[in-house]
């Protein structure tokens, strides 16, 4: 395991078995500050398990995990159900693990376009709204290491793009390391530095452009996914915000196709008009 001074988390041949069944084996990966690492793979391929080993929620049965001490970590889990017996409003939920000022809570809520939900009870939120609030909560920690397990599930398509852009912005602002689990290959990849393709073990890994050409990747996801990974293009002259307002986009850049494998893609890639 090569652990540099920027390394936040590193897995070295890590695997987990539960009642004699291997959920995932021999995963080696590392995440450094300012890096987005995307885990992809079919259902049951060990993406969430890998993330949980990286976070220390699960202890690997083989291999080892390095985590930088005292790093601020935040986590958006894949599933979270809050018992209705607990009265919990969005603002209280945001400062669940760390106390935050009202101003700060409003700021992160406005980043995910959920400011109007400040006083709403968490259990009354829709699936998409709850995902946005979960993401806001994670951002509010100003994390150094952020793990997002399917962070935009249930979010509408345009919202999805906006949230992925937000994730990228957070990476650029906080210079945090991000592990992202997602099925939205076409949207995620433009901002991803490294893709790790899992199917019980690491099938292939590298920059999106490289992974797209890997035969293992094509075998696992088919040609369509590989093409999506390699090229993405889409146009819109306006966008719909979560509070139901429509924002016009003044100029449509003529060449807004996603560029792959670039380190700092905030100014290209999936723009508002993409």
């Amino acid at each position: 395991m090569n652990v540099g001074k920027d390394t936040l988390v590193a897995l070295d041949g890590a695997g987990l078995s539960i009642s004699n069944k291997w959920l995932v084996r021999e995963v080696s990966m590392s995440v450094s500050a300012g890096e987005i690492v995307t885990l992809i793979g079919p259902n049951g391929s060990g993406k969430s398990t890998t993330a949980k080993m990286a976070l220390g929620i699960m202890t690997p049965s083989e291999g080892s995990v390095y985590r930088r001490e005292n790093a601020r970590v935040s986590y958006v889990p894949q599933r979270l159900s809050i018992d209705w017996t607990m009265p919990l409003r969005v603002n209280r939920f945001i400062s669940l693990t760390r106390f935050l000022q009202k101003k700060e809570i409003k700021r992160v809520l406005s980043m995910t376009e959920t400011e109007h939900l400040y006083d709403a009870e968490v259990r009354t939120l829709s699936g998409g709204e709850f995902q946005r609030v979960l993401l806001a909560r994670a951002i509010a920690q100003s994390p150094q290491f952020l793990v997002l397990d399917e962070p935009v599930q249930g979010v509408d398509f345009n919202g999805e793009i906006a949230l992925y852009k937000l994730i990228e912005k957070i990476r650029n602002e906080l210079n945090c390391g991000i592990v992202l689990i997602s099925h939205d290959l076409h949207v995620v990849m433009s901002s991803t530095d490294r893709v790790i393709c899992l199917n019980g073990h690491v099938c292939c890994s590298g920059t999106p452009a490289v992974v797209a050409t890997e035969p293992e990747f094509r075998a696992l996801f088919g040609d369509r996914a590989a093409n999506e990974l390699a090229f993405y293009k889409h146009h819109h002259d306006h966008e719909h915000l979560a509070d139901q307002t429509v924002r016009k986009i003044k100029e449509v850049e003529p060449n807004a196709s996603a560029q792959l494998g670039r380190k700092n893609t905030s100014h290209v890639s999936v723009k508002r008009n993409a």
Binding site: K52, I57, V73, S74, Y75, T85, M86, P87, L88, L96
Partner: protein
């Protein structure tokens, strides 16, 4: 002031109700009602052991409750039985063993009813000191682990990932539960402790917008139930412990009546 048995009962009972509030909320949020029952049933075994070994009853009940919780955790990890089956097994096994041990000790005469339903009117100044000192310690510890406990109630994974050490706070919570059962046994008795934990918390749910308010409300409602129940018990010559639970129930029924103005 504490010379009057009634005043002593109110002061002791209110002390227990105040600390039962926040813990009761966690019992409700985490669906641990049966766990509370199991611990309180095992308290009778604690009483039996205390009499057998000639030890302090409160301390022995506390130790036995902690031991039962640890046993539960151990069994949950190893056995292939579901949690509720294990809880039922432990609850009634400890209750039965406790009763059998008591029956063997022919030389001690035990007021079984007193332990099952409480004997709040026989509360001494020393009991009050134990309740309030123990209670303040419990409240202090709960507020220390509150954030971690609450976060892990919402999501254990988030609590671990964000460095809150929920395993430690869950263990501390279990020990506190054992402590509360040990000091409140005398007030409402083994069979009714869970009621004092759950009913005020359930009542508070409707009027609270956040967890902290619900915890404080549960304490206040519990204290109100103690006072009302004791007044009623004095007035109509009913047993004190059950009267307190009936008062708590009255608050709960009032809370579920459809008063639109209370809706938040």
């Amino acid at each position: 002031m504490l010379d009057d048995f009634f005043i002593r009962a109110v002061v002791g009972g209110v002390g227990v109700a105040l600390l039962a509030g926040p813990l009761g909320c966690f019992i409700v949020w985490r669906r641990l009602a049966y766990f509370g029952d199991t611990l309180s049933h095992s308290a009778l075994l604690g009483v039996a052991m205390a009499l057998l070994l000639d030890m302090n009853i409160t301390l022995t009940v506390f130790i036995i409750s902690v031991a039962v919780s640890l046993l539960l955790i151990l069994l949950q990890r190893r056995a292939s039985l579901s949690s509720d089956a294990l809880l039922g097994l432990l609850a009634h096994a400890t209750l039965a063993v406790g009763l059998v041990v008591l029956a063997f000790m022919t030389w001690v005469r035990v007021d079984l009813m007193g332990f099952l339903f409480g004997d709040i009117l026989a509360i001494t100044v020393r009991d009050i000191i134990i309740i309030w000192c123990g209670g303040l310690a419990v409240i202090a510890i709960v507020s220390l682990i509150w954030k971690s406990l609450l976060a892990s109630t919402v999501s254990y994974d988030i609590a671990v990932a964000e460095g809150l050490r929920p395993d430690l706070s869950n263990f501390v919570f279990m020990v506190l539960m054992a402590g509360v059962i040990a000091i409140s046994m005398k007030i409402v008795g083994v069979l009714l402790i869970t009621a004092l934990l759950i009913i005020p918390a359930a009542t508070a749910r409707r009027f609270s917008g956040n967890p902290e308010v619900m915890a404080v409300m549960a304490s206040v409602l519990g204290a109100g139930s103690v006072w009302l129940g004791l007044e009623g018990s004095l007035e109509w010559d009913t047993p004190a412990g059950p009267s307190i639970v009936v008062a708590a129930l009255a608050f709960f029924i009032t809370s579920v009546l459809p008063f639109p103005k209370f809706k938040k």
